[in-house]
Each structure stands twice: as structure tokens, then as C-alpha cells.
Amino acid sequence: MIDRSEVLHIAKLARLSISDEEVDVLAAELSGILDHVEMISKLNLAGVEPSAHSVAQTGWLRPDVPHQSLAREKALDQAPATDGEGFEVPPPGSGT
């Protein structure tokens, strides 16, 4: 079961502004889904290793060789706000 305060906490962690009505709806929906998936809490998983991946177990590494970086205009092209050199963001310190 997820209550209102948990929904609000998670929404804050996930940076999702949610309306007051949405809090209750989400609390109900998430609780319903969790009720279902909690089936797995009945399984005995003692001694079972977790799998983060299914097929390959260890990976390979990349040689330290430079590639061509993007031209700045291309890097900034899709940004909602720039000063021509960098990505503009609202001030981190203020607001919520």
C-alpha cells in the first residue's frame, strides 16, 4: 500500500509535479499494481543470485582513442534556451 505522503515523496524524487487529485489516483493505482507484483514476495529466493542482465556476464572495454565531438551549433541546436555558448537553465538555488 502506498499512501499520499509516499506518493508525494516519490514524485519529488522523480521531479514530477502532480496535482492534488492525481495524488489519490496514483496512490490507488500504484497500490493495485504493487499488490499484484508482490506475488514474488512469496517465492523462496534464498541463495539465488540477482541477474542484472540475461546473456553476457562480463563486458569489454573501449580503447582510449578520441572521436570527433559535435560542433557546438549542433550540440545546442535542440536546446530550449541557450546563450549561444551554453545551455541556459533556471537558477538552481531558488524556487521549490
Binding site: L16, L26, H53
Partner: protein, 473 residues
């Protein structure tokens, strides 16, 4: 040959191009005409360039439909989301680039569920895709646009992606072939991620041979995707396998309760066909398969909650700024940009990873995944392939499941276990139920694509499925 050339399978078309019966220009023009017939909201973008550059690769210049979530340089790549509306990436996904090099240039992008989350295509910010067999029904999802476009003859073949069934289930609901390859055998670089440990690109085609042809040019280790691996076998042109002595396992856990009668009938009929072709069919236990959906609905949301954190209104995409500082901008942008299902899964995944819950949810789910892989490992000691219905139901009516997320999640019941185990599985159309297509799933061990394609082709020959009712005239 003109527009009738579009009725050929891709394999036949490639042969016609090779023998000079068909020019690449004619081919392209014919398919541009076909793409123009879209009345299903299947296509999100169609090339306006009359002459696409395509090499002399083995794919003969047969143009390709590509799911919206593949990044294509300068071409909208929106992953079905308002937060990426009109987004033009500065680069192209490895597999799209490789296929263009191999002679399958991009002709259209296809609509999908937002960030590949959904089984009906109703979670698309740009409207639902309609099923060409019945425009009141869903095409399945999340690669619903690709499946519908191939079924309706808007594109000759298409790319989809599959995380828990997103290629196979819409292929089943639209009466086409869909292959989810072995995890890692196709590069994910440039695919807008849903759940990184599960996502895999694959072909959606009208024939099994076409699926094998497209897959053969997709697979390979990509230096830009650290989870990609070289396929140990070369992927051969598909030939129907002699099914004599081939052992097919039927897991009771995935074929019992919940499967619609019409789907079950078609499934049984296909098993009979397999027997008649010499295969042996026997029950095959997958004891943990009933838990796959639960594990999946923890793992996939957890990964997506992190993968979608980059949608933050800074470097690309939508920004909503209520002038309440950085966090205010993040919250407002993400609330406005993500649809309800995406928000729901981000919340669920954030919760499953959060302090105090990790072990109970994500940690346990990863252990269930181990058990499911082990189930398959032991099953493949006794069986050459495992077969199930692809989807427990045929295409359902638009809006019929949107109110209840759980009932929608059950659409992936038969496809999710293979995703968790990373093994390949193909869906082929195996008949109709009440005039709507049914899908038959064949799964094999990791890197057994040649085998399951061969089995699928043998059954395809026997089934003689007629997809023409979906064809837009």
C-alpha cells in the same frame, strides 16, 4: 511491374531488383505512394526526398519503416512522447545506419506507445494507431505503428523494439511476423531507451524469410553499445526446417487460464500441424514463468525511471518553466511532457528503487529473473524450442483496457518470460479468430535465431496465412 511490386515479399523484391526486373527508383516511388495511403495513424513521418541514397547492399534498396524511438539525424524522433515532439537528433541509431548501408533506406517513421510503454498504442501522444483488420481495434503495442504499417502494406518491412513483447504482440494482433532477437545481438545505440537490460530491436515483416533477411543485416557487435555481442553464428537465409524429430515444448504455465478460446483453438491447430510435419510436442515446465510479469513490472519501471531522467528540459525537447527555479522547471516540464502511463511507471520504478524498498522489489525481481533464465536453460535441455500463443487475446477494442493498467499489462503474459531471459522469440500469424489474426510464438535458446526462423518458416508454409484483408486498397 509498377505498384504491384509492393505485393511481393521483400525477399522476392530483392531478387527482382538483382535480376533487373525492378529498378530501385521505381521501387521507391511505389512505396512512397503506398505510404501516402496511411489512414491508420501508423506513420509519424514520411520521407519527402524522392531519391534516397542507398548503397548496393544485399537489401536491394527496399525502403524501411522505422519505429519512432530510433534516433534518425534531422528526422523527428519522438518516441511517441509530447516531451520529444519534433525532436531532431544530431545522430542516427547504429542499426538504422547499418540497414541504410545494407540497402534498406529509411522511408517512414512509425507511431508507438510513448517511450514503448504500452500494449495497445493508445499511449501515443500523437493519437492511437488503428488496426488495419478492424479500425475500431488496437494494433497492439508498443511497436503498433510498425506492425500496422507492414500489415496494411504502407511499408515493405519495419523495425520495432521489444522490451516485454512490443514486437511480438503487435505482430500477432496485426497478422504479421515479428522477431525479438537475443539480447545483445543487435545494437541499442540510438534507440531511445525504455528498459536497457531488456530492450532489443527486431524486424516486423510479412514473411519469415523477410524477418531473417532483415535480422541478418542488423546483428553484430557495436563498439558504441557495451552490451552488444557478436552473434556466434552467421545468420543464414531462411529455409523451412524439416521438423522431423524436432521437439517442441508447451509450457502449461503460459497456455492455460487467461488464453481466449479462439486463440487456444488456433494454437492447438498449429500444434497439430507441427505434429503432422514430424515434430514431437510435449508439456514443458517453466515453473517460475507465472512470476515473470511481476518481475518485469518492477525491473522495467525501475530502469525507465532512471532512463527518462534525462528528459529534463535542458538540452532538447519540451521545457515548461513556471519561474520557480531549476526544480520547478524540472517538475513542470516532466509533468506536462509525459503521459499518464509513463508517469505511472516512473513513479512505480522510483518507488521500487527507493531507500528501504530496493531489496523487497528490485532486488527480488532480479533474483526471479535468474530463476526464469534457469527454467529456460533446463527446458532447452529437453526441447529444441518452446511454443506458446503470442498474445492471450486477439486485438481488443480501442479504449477497452485503458482504465485498468493491470489488465493491459496481462497482454504481455506470454512474451515477458523470454524478454527476462534475453532469449530470441518469433511470432507468426497462425490463423484468425472472429476475423482477427492470432499469433504463435516460438522461442529458442540464446543465439538460436537460425533455428527458430527455420521452424517458423516450416509452419508458415503449412499455415498459408492470408494477410490480404489488412491491405489498404
Amino acid at each position: 511491374m509498377s505498384t504491384d511490386s509492393t505485393k511481393l515479399s521483400v525477399t522476392e523484391t530483392v531478387a527482382a531488383v538483382a535480376s533487373g526486373l525492378l529498378s530501385k527508383a521505381e521501387l521507391h516511388a511505389a512505396w512512397l505512394d503506398r505510404a501516402g495511403l496511411d489512414d491508420l495513424n501508423a506513420l509519424s513521418w514520411v520521407s519527402d526526398s524522392p531519391e534516397l541514397v542507398h548503397g548496393d547492399g544485399p537489401l536491394g534498396g527496399v525502403p524501411l519503416g522505422v519505429k519512432d524511438l530510433f534516433c534518425t539525424e534531422g528526422v523527428p524522433s519522438q518516441s511517441g512522447s509530447k516531451i520529444l515532439e519534433g525532436y531532431l537528433p544530431p545522430y542516427t541509431a547504429t542499426v538504422v545506419e547499418a540497414l541504410a548501408q545494407a540497402g534498406a533506406p529509411l522511408i517512414a517513421k512509425t507511431h508507438q506507445d510513448e517511450f514503448a510503454m504500452g500494449s495497445s498504442n493508445e499511449n501515443c501522444a500523437f493519437g492511437p494507431v488503428l488496426n488495419p483488420w478492424d479500425r475500431g481495434r488496437v494494433p497492439g503495442g508498443s511497436s503498433g505503428g510498425s506492425a500496422a504499417a507492414v500489415a496494411a502494406g504502407l511499408v515493405p518491412w519495419a523495425l520495432g523494439t521489444d522490451t516485454g513483447g512490443s514486437i511480438r504482440q503487435p505482430a500477432a494482433l496485426c497478422g504479421v511476423v515479428g522477431l525479438k532477437p537475443t539480447y545483445g545481438s543487435v545494437s541499442r545505440y540510438g534507440m531511445i531507451a525504455f528498459a536497457s537490460s531488456l530492450d532489443q530491436a527486431g524486424p516486423i515483416t510479412r514473411t519469415v524469410a523477410d524477418a531473417g533477411l532483415l535480422y541478418s543485416q542488423m546483428t553484430g557487435k557495436d563498439p558504441r553499445d557495451a552490451t552488444s555481442v557478436e552473434h556466434p553464428d552467421s545468420v543464414e537465409p531462411v529455409v523451412p526446417m524439416d521438423l522431423t524429430g524436432v521437439r517442441l515444448g508447451v509450457p502449461e504455465e503460459l497456455t492455460g487460464e487467461g488464453v481466449e478460446p479462439g486463440v487456444r483453438e488456433a494454437f492447438e491447430a498449429t500444434l497439430d500441424l507441427a505434429r503432422s510435419l514430424g515434430a514431437t510436442v510435449a508439456p514443458c515446465p517453466l515453473p517460475h514463468a507465472p512470476h515473470a510479469l511481476s518481475a518485469y513490472y518492477l525491473i522495467a519501471p525501475a530502469e525507465c525511471s532512471s532512463n527518462l531522467a534525462r528528459l529534463d528540459g535542458v538540452r532538447f525537447g519540451l521545457r515548461v518553466d513556471p519561474d520557480e527555479g531549476l526544480d520547478g522547471m524540472y517538475g513542470a516540464t516532466r509533468a506536462a511532457g509525459f503521459g499518464p502511463e509513463v508517469r505511472r511507471r516512473i513513479m512505480l520504478g522510483t518507488y521500487a528503487l527507493s531507500s528501504g524498498y530496493y531489496d523487497a522489489y528490485y532486488g527480488r525481481a532480479q533474483r526471479v529473473r535468474t530463476l526464469i533464465s534457469q527454467d529456460f536453460d533446463s527446458a532447452f535441455e529437453d526441447f529444441d524450442a518452446i511454443v506458446t500463443p503470442t498474445s492471450p487475446s486477439v486485438a481488443f477494442e480501442l479504449g477497452s483496457k485503458t482504465a485498468d493498467p493491470l489488465s493491459m499489462y496481462l497482454s504481455d503474459f506470454c512474451t515477458v518470460p523470454m524478454s527476462l531471459a534475453g532469449i530470441p522469440a518469433i511470432s507468426i500469424p497462425n490463423g484468425l479468430s472472429d476475423g482477427l489474426p492470432v499469433g504463435f510464438q516460438i522461442a529458442g535458446p540464446a543465439f538460436s535465431e537460425n533455428r527458430i526462423l527455420g521452424i517458423a518458416a516450416a509452419l508458415e508454409d503449412g499455415l498459408k496465412f492470408d494477410g490480404s484483408p489488412a491491405w489498404i486498397a
